[in-house]
Subunit: 249 residues, 2 copies
C-alpha cells in the first residue's frame, strides 16, 4: 500500500435504501480508516442488483487502493456480492474447500446444503486471516479478498469482528488535524481561508458553520500528513483571523 | 414524474468522509422518500472536489428521475457544488437577482460581499418554492434546481426545512410492505424464498438474519406497489414456511 492510501466503501443492500435498516458499517469503518491514516474518498450505497454491484466494484477498484464491501454474502437469493465481485474481475465462482471446512466446523450438524453457498467465492480470491498467529488464525473465519476488494458481511457485529482481524494490514501514515473556531461567520472569513489554502497546498482546509454553537459561528478544520505544515497553516490562519478566533484545538 | 420514480442522493463533503461529522441528511431523506413512494436507488458520498462532483452529478442525473445533493453551497473555498452542477450540464454560474434580493433581506446589514456568492447559480437553474401559496413562497428561501438535480444545503436543520418546502412535489404511488419472521435460519428457508421470488416477480423479497433477536432467526420483507401482489406473496411464503413462521406483519 502507498503511504497515503485511498479507500472506498461500498454498501450493498436494498434494506439500507428503503430505510428499513440504518447503516452502522460505513459509520464504523469511516472512523477506523481515519484512525489508521487511510483516506476514505468515496462511499456508495447500492441495491442487491448483480449488474450494478459488478459495475460499481469495477469502477471503485480501478480508482482506489482499497475497496471494502459490506453485505450480500449470505445464502439467499438477495446475496449477490460474491458473484458480482467475481464478474467485475472476470472470475467465475467455485466452491472453496477451506471455507467449506470452516462452515462445516462452525455450523455443525445444523448445516444446510444451501449454507455451502457461502463457500462459493471467485476463483482468483484469496483468504486473509490478518496478522494473528497461525493457531488463532486457524480458528478464525477469514476475509475473502479479490484483487484490492475486501468483502465484508452486512451484519454489523460480524462486520466489526472481521474488520478487527485485518485492521492492522491497513496502518498508514497518520493524518494530523487541527481546528480553529471563528466568532465571525463564513462571509467575512472566506478571504482568509482562501489565502491559507493557497499558501499551504498540502493542508486540507474545511469550513463548517454551526448555527447552534454557543460561542462561535464557524469551525475550521486543517488536516494533513505533514504535521509541521498543518501547524504552520493553523498559525497562519489564526494570524489572519485575529480577533475572530475564539479558540484553537 | 413517473408513478414509480427513482432517486439518488449525493452527499458532498470531506467532513463526512473523515468521520468528523456523521451524516444526518441521507438518513432523513431516505425515510422521507420511502414514505413518499419514491424508490431510492443510490447514495454516494464524495469529497469537495469540483471534477468529482461534476462527473458524479452527470452520471447520477442521467440514470435517475431525481437527484438530491447535500452540501457545498456556502460562500467559502470548499463550497463547490453550484459550479460543479453547472459544469455537469455545461452551464456557467451567474448572479441571480432574486436570490441576491433574498440574501440582502435575510442577512441584512451584516451581509458581506462574499456572501453574495450564494446567489451565483448555474445559468439554466430554476428556483423552486414548492406548493405553498404565493405569499408564503415570497418569504421562503427557494431550492435551486438544475434539470433534475435538486441542490440542498449540508447543515441538517436547513436541509430539513428546505426539503419540507418541496416534499409534496415528489408524492408518488405508495410502496406496500409486509414482513414474515422465521424461526429457521437462512439456509433451510432459502428454497422457499427462491420460489416466492420466482412466482411474484413484482414483489421485492429481502432476507435479513438477526443474530440477537429473542424469538426469530430471519426477518423476511416483501415490498411492492401492487398491494394485492404483496399480500399474495406473503400468504404464499407463509404457506411454504409452515411451522417456521413466528409471526407476520
Amino acid at each position: 500500500l502507498p503511504a497515503a492510501p485511498r479507500a472506498a466503501i461500498l454498501l450493498i443492500g436494498n434494506e439500507l435504501l428503503s430505510g428499513k435498516v440504518d447503516d452502522e458499517n460505513a459509520r464504523f469503518l469511516t472512523r477506523e480508516l481515519r484512525a489508521l491514516g487511510v483516506t476514505l474518498s468515496r462511499v456508495e450505497v447500492i441495491p442487491d442488483d448483480p449488474a450494478d454491484v459488478a459495475e460499481t466494484v469495477r469502477a471503485l477498484a480501478s480508482r482506489h487502493d482499497i475497496v471494502f464491501t459490506s453485505g450480500g454474502v449470505g445464502p439467499t437469493h438477495d446475496d449477490v456480492t460474491m458473484a458480482a465481485v467475481g464478474a467485475a474481475f472476470g472470475m467465475a465462482l467455485a466452491r472453496n474447500l477451506e471455507l467449506e471446512g470452516l462452515l462445516r466446523a462452525g455450523i455443525g450438524p445444523r448445516l444446510h446444503e444451501r449454507d455451502l453457498r457461502m463457500a462459493d467465492i471467485p476463483t482468483g480470491a484469496r483468504l486473509e486471516y490478518g496478522l494473528r498467529d497461525a493457531a488463532a488464525a486457524g480458528r478464525a473465519w477469514p476475509v475473502v479478498v479479490v484483487d484490492n476488494v475486501w468483502i465484508l458481511p452486512g451484519v454489523p457485529s460480524i462486520f466489526r469482528r472481521k474488520f478487527d482481524l485485518i485492521r492492522e494490514l491497513f496502518r498508514a501514515e497518520p493524518i494530523h488535524a487541527r481546528a480553529v473556531y471563528s466568532r465571525e461567520p463564513e462571509g467575512p472569513i472566506a478571504g482568509a481561508l482562501d489565502e491559507t489554502v493557497a499558501t499551504f497546498p498540502a493542508v486540507e482546509v474545511g469550513s463548517y458553520p454551526h448555527l447552534d454553537a454557543p460561542d462561535y459561528s464557524v469551525k475550521i478544520t486543517l488536516d494533513g500528513r505533514d504535521r509541521a505544515a498543518v501547524d504552520a497553516a493553523t498559525t497562519y490562519l489564526v494570524g489572519l483571523l485575529g480577533a475572530a478566533v475564539v479558540r484553537t484545538e
